[in-house]
Amino acid sequence: MASSWCWNCLSRLRPTPRALLPPSATPRISSAPFHSTAVHYAQPAKKKGNSLTVMKHRQSTSLRRKKKKVADRGGRPPAVGERKALRKRIVLSNPNALEIEGMLDLSPETMVDSRLRGTVLGLPVPMIDQLRAVQAFKPKQGWSIFRRPGTVLRRDTIEMGRLFQQLSGEGDDAQKGKVVKRIVTGMKGSGKTVHLLQAMAMGFLKKWAVITIPDARELVSGETAYAAIEGSNPLQYVQPTATSALLTRTVDANRELLASLKVSQKHPALKMLKPSSTLEDLAKLGFSDPAVSWRVFQALWTELTATAPAAGLEKDFQPRPPMLVAVDGLAHWMTESAYRSAEFKPIHAHDLAFVHHFLSLLKEGDSLKNGGLLLYATSSSNNPNPKALSIALDRLAARQAGISASSPEYPRPPAYSDADPRVLDLLQPAEKAVSPVELQTLGGLTRDEARGFMEYFARSGLLREIINDQWVSEKWSLSGGGIIGELEKFGRRVRATASASK
């Protein structure tokens, strides 16, 4: 079909002025046989060469670095609780370490023997499961490099051993039925937790009932369930899961003892309890059902502190043994807890029934009817550092040093300080009364004890040094006067042997 345009008309077309025509956005088709656009309207030819200065549109212009490829570690994150289990793992034996010949075990005889002072006594092997059950070992302690766990018999240990002997009613000055209440403090690394461990070991040796709270923080950090006790004034709160865990610990550790004791009191709150059952059965009621665990714990406590059977249950009543109560990290109980009340106010730690129960044991009077030992240790590595507790402990030390409360040297909270009055009152004795609580401050080892401790490292094959008096006293000075945690670092720190170092 012929075009309606005539060739003449086309040839008469004048080039349009440049300003009127915008440069065409369409690409030029060079192969088109017919094109009406003049050459100078075409887009400029692209420059050749791959220049970096070429602007990129619709892309980020910022610098992109190649990321280092992360190695694939199985493609999935570790299972729930796996890493925590790894972190909390406690290893008590190193088969590579040398066995120490003639190493004595802790026993009722050795724990009071002052000739053995400064030697390391092994913990009896059958007892280790019990100590594990009460969580006496902590993950960061250096048990894992020795053949078997052992502790130094230091001055405080022997003194505590004698105390155990007295309170059990043995020896010359037997004081059966007495309660000794102690708060253990000391510098970081001075062995407070291991002191508690030694106490637990002695308790097991003497067949006491051992009840421990290995970490006081867990009760106030808001990690376990809590519920208000209805009708209590001031309002108190129970922690059923934590109580259930305490019952489990106690039964695991004291199984033999609890199985030998029969129920001797009436417990109307626990309907499912048979009159002939043992204390182990009683405690087991609280394992499975956290709802009754607090009542079960109270029942167990009345049983353990009972001095005489209730009417009608005299048949197989046995006298109850003394008790050891050990708490680690006391300072956490001296502030407000992480729990909140219904009004969203912070709950004071003393309002938790569990905490209140153990703190009330520190008050005057025989809180443990059958006698025993209360050891409440502070911690310096995990310490909320409440002001009121430090003042209260200063006051305790002052009272022990014979400074009366009216004298000007008696420590007082600074003016306008917000020291917690509940904490200050807790450790304050009533007028003219003797303070029921003793303060025990752990210091460093003596040089002889330090030598025994370092020899333990050397004889285990871990320390390759010649242990002489000069070396020991150098390390004794470097460790701040025999602070055992620092001494342990010197024992652990690996130094090369002469053949390897260059």
Partner: protein, 259 residues
């Protein structure tokens, strides 16, 4: 200058100079130096003053002189005995506290300049070596000059040193252009110092440990060290490869670069 006391102005004039300000400072030492030296030898002077204890003081002075003379004879240049330096200086200076290799390994494990974290990891590695069961040595890949394997865990630093030294290559391969001509590079072995050799071996061990699956970095490194000790690790192949290239390339050692 014109407000100065006349004495000082005179002194300035004497010294000459054309500055309008003073650059002089009166030294108080001049006065002291000018005086006769009375304090230098106190004992004879005191003896002169006190006639009563003359003989005793003289005896004392002679005794002191004698002792000092002896000391000078024994240690020329020292008045007193030189201080006794303990043999194990490693404990004294915190920079030299650790073994050389342990220090080098620790610093190569360091990331972002966090040395304390690296030291913590190193102590975990050493604890792993100390507690893991002794390595089953592969007879084809023995550690250099090692004691029996059962003794290794008791000296973890020696263990680590032996592992690193045993897989350390003797040389690196230098790619030299311009010898063969035509732009091809010639592989020439180049000897390494002890520290450089160890550095290469540590780098290989750390690279190989990256491919392991343990969750913890320290565990990965420790497992790789044990694997090297048992001859299972790929680091040995790397070293063998390096040595093979080096042996074939040693013919090129004496060739010179063409200009």
């Amino acid at each position: 200058m014109k407000h100065m006391p006349k004495v000082m102005r005179d002194a300035l004039k004497k010294s000459g100079g054309s500055r309008s300000f003073s650059t002089s400072a009166r030294s108080s030492m001049n006065d002291l130096q000018g005086e006769p030296n009375k304090e230098a030898n106190p004992i004879p002077n005191m003896a002169g003053l006190e006639g009563a204890s003359d003989e005793a003081a003289a005896a004392l002075a002679s005794m002191i002189e004698q002792v000092q003379g002896q000391a000078l004879e024994e240690n020329p240049g020292l008045k007193f005995d030189p201080p006794a330096v303990p043999e194990n200086l490693k404990t004294l200076n915190f920079r030299n506290r650790y073994d050389t290799l342990q220090d080098q390994f620790t610093k190569m494990m360091m990331e972002d300049g966090k040395l304390t974290k690296a030291q913590k990891n190193m102590s975990l590695v050493l604890d792993h070596l100390r507690t893991a069961s002794p390595p089953q040595i592969n007879p084809r890949r023995r550690l250099l000059g090692a004691p029996p394997a059962s003794q290794l865990p008791l000296d973890p630093v020696l263990y680590l040193t032996l592992v690193v030294d045993s897989v350390a290559p003797l040389f690196r391969i230098r790619q030299q252009k311009g010898i063969a001509g035509g732009g091809t590079a010639v592989q020439i072995p180049h000897p390494l110092t002890l520290r450089q050799r160890r550095r290469t071996a540590i780098k290989w061990i750390l690279d190989a440990s990256d491919k392991r699956r343990d969750a913890l970095f320290a565990n990965r490194v420790a497992a790789e060290v044990v694997a090297v000790a048992e001859g299972r690790s790929g680091v040995w192949e790397k070293r063998d490869q390096q040595h093979k290239i080096g042996i074939s390339g040693r013919a090129n050692l004496n060739t010179n670069v063409r200009r």
